[in-house]
Symmetry: none
Subunit: 267 residues, 2 copies
């Protein structure tokens, strides 16, 4: 067996299991342990994996991330204050007992903080949101069936016959990658697939986007702007964008970012 082939096997093995032993690979490749050690050492200096006593482990620690997915987290922290202010307004729209749908996303995730003292009927395809609400609220929580995608923390099924059909929401809350006159845009086809299903189950769509999203464009159009009943954004929105939204007949709610608590602003 050639060196490259062994390396391929080693790297693929290290992806599958958090740690692999020298012996495992030696057996797998029918090479001697000495050779495997050299291979691992070589891959280690190339940064393809990390060498540990007894074997090797993946460079990306696949392990516990408090919520789900590192990607989810970094993106979560950007514009966190804006997103939080927007989320507060979103929750303010809800009355006790309402049935609502929350589509997964970093902005909509912020809603959980304000939902903890509420009692609603929530359907969400976000595993992270469901987890948080189950633990920290009195709301009833419903999820669609399907596989859990760690990166986006989304539950998604390729099938049409899931319980999503049996849920009806007064409102559906969703974020997006970008908004323009052409409609609501997303970049991930996977996400769109799940969103489409939910959209049909709600009367009103409420879009949660920070003001930077009006400048962003993305590749895939989720739905036309007219389908959206309300957009909630922050006070960084431009007059042009404001007009664009209102021309489309969409209600606009602008959340003040610094206003909330600790009004110790420099004023």
């Amino acid at each position: 067996m050639h060196e490259r082939e062994r390396h391929r096997i080693i790297l693929s093995a290290v992806q599958e299991k958090p740690v692999i032993t020298i012996q495992d690979i030696a057996e797998l490749t029918e090479a001697s342990e000495a050779t495997i050690r050299r291979d691992i050492a070589s891959l280690h200096v190339k940064g393809k994996l990390r060498r540990v006593r007894g074997g090797a482990e993946a460079v990306h620690p696949p392990q516990l991330t408090p919520l789900a997915g590192r990607h989810f987290h970094v993106s979560e922290s950007e514009n966190a204050d804006k997103k939080r202010a927007i989320a507060r307004e979103a929750v303010a729209l809800c009355e006790e007992g309402d049935a609502i749908i929350i589509n997964g996303g970093t902005t909509t995730f912020q809603m959980v903080h304000f939902l903890s003292s509420r009692r609603l009927q929530v359907m969400t395809n976000s595993f992270a949101i469901a987890e948080h609400l189950v633990k920290n609220s009195k709301s009833s929580v419903t999820v669609p069936g399907g596989a859990i995608y760690r990166e986006q923390s989304i539950i998604l099924s390729p099938f049409d016959n899931d319980v999503t059909r049996n849920f009806y929401g007064k409102r559906m809350f969703m974020g997006s990658q970008g908004v323009g006159p052409f409609g609501v845009m997303e970049s991930d086809a996977l996400i769109i697939q799940g969103e489409q299903k939910l959209i049909n189950q709600a009367d009103e769509l409420v879009l949660l986007v920070d003001s930077t999203k009006f400048a962003r464009r993305s590749s895939l159009i989720l739905c036309p702007l007219q389908r959206v009943a309300t957009i909630i954004t922050d006070d960084g929105i431009s007059d042009a964008d404001r007009k664009m939204v209102e021309d489309a007949g969409v209600q606009l709610i602008v959340a003040k970012v610094n206003q909330t608590r600790n009004s110790v602003s420099v004023a």
Copy 2:
């Protein structure tokens, strides 16, 4: 078992329960207590957990779980060592890549510890199991759609049209309230409803019950004993019960509970 793998298990265990004992981990990892002490000391200086007398605790404060199911947790601690030994045998039946179904329950939940270093395709109606596997394993995780019941940590839908139908498992692992010649018994009608759906999606049923369950009777019969392919229990099972199981044509696996460390048994 290798150092990294042990560390993974320890961290995953400390996350699930606020505090874990040295013995628990020693049993879980089949390593000596001395080694676990060293591991904990090492993880302590790395700041991954906090070392306390008798074991370790999560570095993050226990985090109030007002509704996360206290019932679930207390019941979990009863017969924990037996349940864990049984769960170990259950996971040992699985081969890499297998598609399996895990029905929610306190005994089956113990399987997650041994699954953390495996890569399987898991379908489960237990929110707690799904949560743990998503965070601490590389297995693919699929859940049925429905409402989340906090008390049992179960996802349940009254509808028939969920994605459960689209999942097939080589084996289904389940616990139960009681076992007798009449069949497998449960007390909660809600649980039965969800279990019935899953049972039809698996070739083999594997029943995980500690030996006390053979004496317990319950009101509702889930399925006849003949439907079960394998029963895994602990070494407290009586000869009569053993015979009863074998007469029904069910394979019996007896997990040794105290076998692992400190073989200072009275011989």
